[in-house]
Amino acid sequence: MLKSKDTIFDGLYSFGVSRRNFIKFCASMSATLALSSSAVPQIVEALEKKKKPYAIWLHFQECTGDTESILRASKPSIAQIVLDIVSLEYHETIMAGSGHAAEKALHDVVKNQKAKYIAIVEGSIPIKDGGIYCTIGGRTALDIANEVCGNAFVTLNVGSCSCWGGVSSAKPNPTGAVGIADAVSGIKYVNLPGCPVNAENITATIVHYLTFGTLPVLDRHNRPLFAYGKRIHDNCERRPHFDAGQFVRKWGDEGHRLGWCLYELGCKGPMAYKNCPTIKWNEGISYPIQAGHPCFACASNDSWDVFGPIYTRAPHVPGAGYQATADKIGAAVVAGTAAAVATHAAIRTFLGYKQKEKFAKEKDEADKIK
């Protein structure tokens, strides 16, 4: 464990991160936060002088993708920075300690740093059947979250699972998985959804807090606006092909090779909010759409049950059978109506024929009487 009294820069320096790289990092943070370059010195100062905040990283029902997303950063120095921006006291995947010693470290932070530490949570919490579907050290996830998140200064929900249940809460959701905010009420939290979340967004949120003493501006789903304020579709480099009407029809067809719009392969970019097109992944190398795969709105609450299946466009109708899409049902409604109208017309013609004949006859007779 790192000595928590160190400032962030001290910690980085002892790991061999050069000052040049440190400044570069601060500049990239300011860019991620959509601040002007004049904010860079402020960030540098804050990170040089302020003590690292304590942090606890919890894993519940998840795939450790968010941890991977940080650890797999291609430049080692950046991975170092991301992990060293906080004094990480507990992280099941990467901590050296184990067993009771590790649990003790967790309790110490919760007790001694009450309302001062940051809880970072990865994974959803199953609440069905008393929460027995996820237990760590004999305690349920719900129990641990109540203790750790309940006493934290703020909880950062990293990844879609801890924000709103993610893939583990997709129908039929056998474990009753929910996001942290739904499981533990009354906590202060920031949602950083994504499958996985982008490491830069976690770091930038913390850097914002360290520099300005406040959390970044959040939207109605408690997501920081700097990362989730823009729609992928509006920032997508394939957008001109969308407007032109040039769509990839099949995997590997000519349009796909030419980089056309992935709309018809089921791209959910028009419904997805995240800064993927600008900060991308793996140190800005690429991101799904750039690599030729449609976005499936991994950061959205709807990605599985409503927007799915991944490679289909029309939204899913909840509760209307597994493969039924809105279009199929809609077409059935119209076809049914047309059939009903046609039947009605047929019966009407048949009945009407008789009626009119009778009517004409009556008229005839009436005229005769006259």
């Binding site: 032109a244 609450n301 709807d302 279009d327 049914g336 109506t337 009605h344 017309a345 004409a360 008229k363």
Partner: protein, 237 residues
């Protein structure tokens, strides 16, 4: 000009029948200009909205060259039609209060016992359980309900449409127009509703055209021509 339906099987007799009735016919001015205007704007816009909307959800035509802009064009037409439809709805709403008695709000509220009876009568009539009904001069009560339903669908489409529009048009005005809906419904649900309204309105159009044709044919009240001219034929008998 007045379509009474053609009874091809007994042309001479029907001619006689028509003439004898015509003597007693009265032309009544029922649909005032704003009603007709709004009606035809609705038809125009809804048709174009259905076609372009379907294209947006499922682009069935593809561009051959880079300099085309089919999707952009479709979206443009969709948005323009949507705003004309809203204008038309506003005209209609204004005329709910300013129009003649056939256009007023009261026509659309089936809250009197008489109206409820009329609804039942017409349901029976269309279900072949009743041979004849008394057709009122304006809308019958069942038709009025179906139009209220159609307008409700249009209202849903406008609301969800503005919500989706606000995704790419930020700012307070668009938030007021529809962005706030995201506070109640999720993005997926909003899209689902917007998409579904298209199908429901398509079904409505089919039923509407058929029933109007049917009534015109049975009643000989010039219903179809009335939405062009405003005049309905009223038989004294």
């Amino acid at each position: 000009m007045i379509n009474r339906g053609s009874y091809v099987w007994q042309p001479q007799k029907m001619d006689m029948f028509r003439k004898s009735r015509k003597a007693q016919d009265k032309r009544l001015y029922v649909w005032q200009l704003p009603i007709r205007l709004s009606h035809w704007l609705n038809i125009l816009c809804i048709t174009s909205l259905i076609i372009t909307g379907y294209y947006i959800s499922n682009p069935f035509m593809h561009a051959i060259s880079e300099d085309q802009s089919i999707m952009a064009m479709m979206r443009f037409i969709h948005f323009v039609s949507a705003h004309i439809l809203i204008a038309s709805a506003l005209i209609r709403i204004y005329w709910l209060f300013a129009g003649n008695k056939f256009a007023r709000l009261k026509e659309f509220l089936p809250f009197t016992a008489e109206k409820r009876k009329e609804v039942l009568c017409f349901i029976k009539f269309y279900a072949f359980l009743k041979k004849e009904v008394h057709h009122p001069i304006g809308h019958n009560a069942l038709a009025a309900i179906s139009y209220s339903f159609a307008y409700f669908m249009i209202f849903l489409a406008i609301l969800t449409g503005y919500a989706l529009y606000s995704e790419s048009h930020t700012g307070f005005f668009w938030y007021l127009a529809g962005g706030w809906v995201f506070g109640i419904l999720s993005d997926g649900t909003i899209r689902l509703i917007h998409h579904f309204v298209m199908w429901v309105l398509t079904a409505f159009l089919i039923v509407h055209v058929y029933i109007v044709w049917l009534n015109d044919n049975i009643e000989g009240n010039g219903l179809i021509s009335s939405i062009f001219t405003g005049y309905k034929i009223y038989h004294k008998d």
